[in-house]
């Protein structure tokens, strides 16, 4: 490790998807174990661990469902775009000290890539030419309008405190004080928007049971594998980004940086997976008003406080 701040070597491009899929695997297994436990009876650990493999195999051999006059182009675009968006967003994620792609505008890149999920979910919902799936697609756009601005303010507050858009710089700025302590409101807004972005509970109305599965309703076989898998990847990547932004990145005693990144990521994921079972689904119209009337002013106030702290420290220009 000659230069600890440079990007990882090129082969890491191949490792990144494997790491993300492993993390998603753990999250799915944890979710399945919680489900089994909630149903009562014994928690079959082996069954929960094997569930992702079983589901993948089942979906891979499954047939596509044909609907009347579908828009295959848009379905395929949406379904393929979701995991790709998650992977591209993960490129700026420091795995340990260094990310795969060390962009000078890493935070903006992350934001730009994850927002591709808007297009993906809407296109997948539209493509099947099925009413409930279309409702799901539109629901996600409405939800997007609610979560995106608090999300951006949370991201930019972290960048503001570090005076840099580069993710490793943001990690380095937390050497003394993790940003979760400096800006707790931004961290909470980030967690809320993470769940909303991956249409994860309590913001799972776009694929809700009341619309029979919403945007994912007509997806079968490989389409469903990509869409549902992409959603898990998005959740993993968004949860993992909380670590460099607010939780000090790879900082921690004893263990090496990559181990701390993995541990913290899994902790955030576990929190999100567990919270979904504690909270009922929030309708988008309720969430939209809450986001605009409560979350946005709060995150702006948080950014103001952080800006004053930065100026007090003698930062700025």
């Amino acid at each position: 490790m000659a230069d600890p701040t440079a990007a990882l070597p090129l082969w890491s491009v191949l490792v990144l998807p494997l790491l993300l899929i492993s993390a998603a695997w753990v999250a799915v297994a944890f979710d399945a174990a919680l489900t089994a436990r909630a149903r009562g009876g014994r928690t079959e650990v082996a069954a929960a661990v094997l569930l992702p493999a079983r589901e993948t195999a089942r979906l891979l051999v499954g047939q596509r469902r044909r609907t009347l006059a579908p828009d295959r182009t848009l379905t395929t675009t949406g379904v393929v775009l979701l995991p790709i968006a998650a992977l591209l967003a993960a490129a700026v994620l420091p795995l340990g000290a260094r990310p795969v792609a060390d962009l000078s505008v890493g935070v903006v890149w992350f934001n730009a890539m994850e927002v591709l999920a808007w297009a993906a979910v809407w296109a997948a919902g539209w493509g099947a030419n099925s009413m409930l799936s279309l409702v799901g697609g539109y629901r996600f756009v409405a939800q997007g309008l609610a979560y995106e601005l608090p999300h951006m303010f949370a991201l930019i507050t972290a960048a503001l405190a570090a005076e840099s858009l580069r993710v490793p710089d943001i990690v380095a700025a937390q050497a003394d004080l993790w940003f979760v302590v400096l800006m707790p409101v931004a961290f909470l807004a980030y967690l809320v928007s993470t769940a909303a972005m991956a249409f994860w509970g309590p913001f799972d109305a776009p694929v809700g049971r009341d619309v029979a599965g919403g945007a994912a309703l007509e997806l079968c076989g490989i389409d469903r594998l990509l869409f549902v898998g992409g959603r898990w990847l998005l959740l993993v990547v968004a949860a993992a980004m909380a670590v460099p932004l607010f939780l000090g990145g790879g900082a921690g005693p004893l263990l090496p940086a990559p181990a701390w990144v993995a541990l913290k990521t899994l902790a955030v994921l576990a929190l999100l997976v567990w919270l979904r079972r504690r909270l009922p689904t929030v309708r988008m119209d309720r969430f939209a008003e809450f986001a605009w009337v409560v979350l946005i002013p709060l995150t702006i106030a948080q950014a103001l406080v952080v800006a004053i702290v930065v100026l007090q420290r003698g930062g700025g220009m």
Binding site: T77, W109, F287
Partner: protein, 186 residues
């Protein structure tokens, strides 16, 4: 490498732009336009303007998805299940587009471009921020307030409900009478 990328992105931008007028579904048209914009964002990234490129991608995705909602809402035949066309007033639009292209292309070829004076800034993102917050602050503030006023005015003009509909003639109703309840219970 960057030459190949340039031509691939430039080709994609043009082809997707042409598809906007050839496809017969409003949803596909919106996504073709989005793809074209994303290719342009890639070109801007290729110029070394990381911030601008990423922001173009970010804004265009959000904008075009919202645009899709509105375009489909106002389209006579939204789904394109029956043939729909994006071109109207064919002869007039052809004259205007060809004319605009000729004028712009002639401009590129005929203008006596000055030689480059100075070097690019070491950090274009920083230079952009400084320009927006420094020399162009007044322009940007005026622009921002103007855009915001337009948005507010448009919403006010298009909604048929005002505060008297929500809170009664004396504006003293304890709970607003809204067709759809919000999450804060106002």
């Amino acid at each position: 490498m960057s030459v190949v990328l340039f031509w691939a992105l430039a080709g994609a931008a043009v082809v997707l732009g042409v598809l906007v007028f050839r496809l017969d579904s409003m949803a596909q048209v919106t996504f073709a336009l989005l793809g074209s914009f994303l290719a342009v964002a890639g070109l801007v990234l290729l110029l070394g303007l990381g911030y601008l490129g990423a922001v173009i991608a970010l804004m265009m995705v959000i904008e075009m998805v919202i645009m899709a909602v509105f375009m489909i809402m106002f389209m006579m035949n939204p789904a394109g299940l029956m043939p729909m066309t994006m071109t109207h007033n064919r002869r007039g639009s052809l004259v205007i587009s060809v004319g605009a292209f000729v004028v712009l292309a002639a401009g590129i070829l005929l203008v006596d471009w000055p030689a480059r004076d100075g070097v690019p800034p070491p950090d274009p993102t920083f230079a952009l921020g400084e320009a927006l917050m420094g020399g162009q602050m007044l322009t940007m503030m005026t622009l921002g307030v103007g855009l915001f006023a337009t948005i507010v005015a448009t919403v006010v003009l298009s909604t048929d409900r005002g505060r008297y509909d929500r809170l009664g003639d004396e504006l003293d109703a304890p709970v607003a009478d809204d067709p759809m309840g919000g999450g804060v219970g106002r």
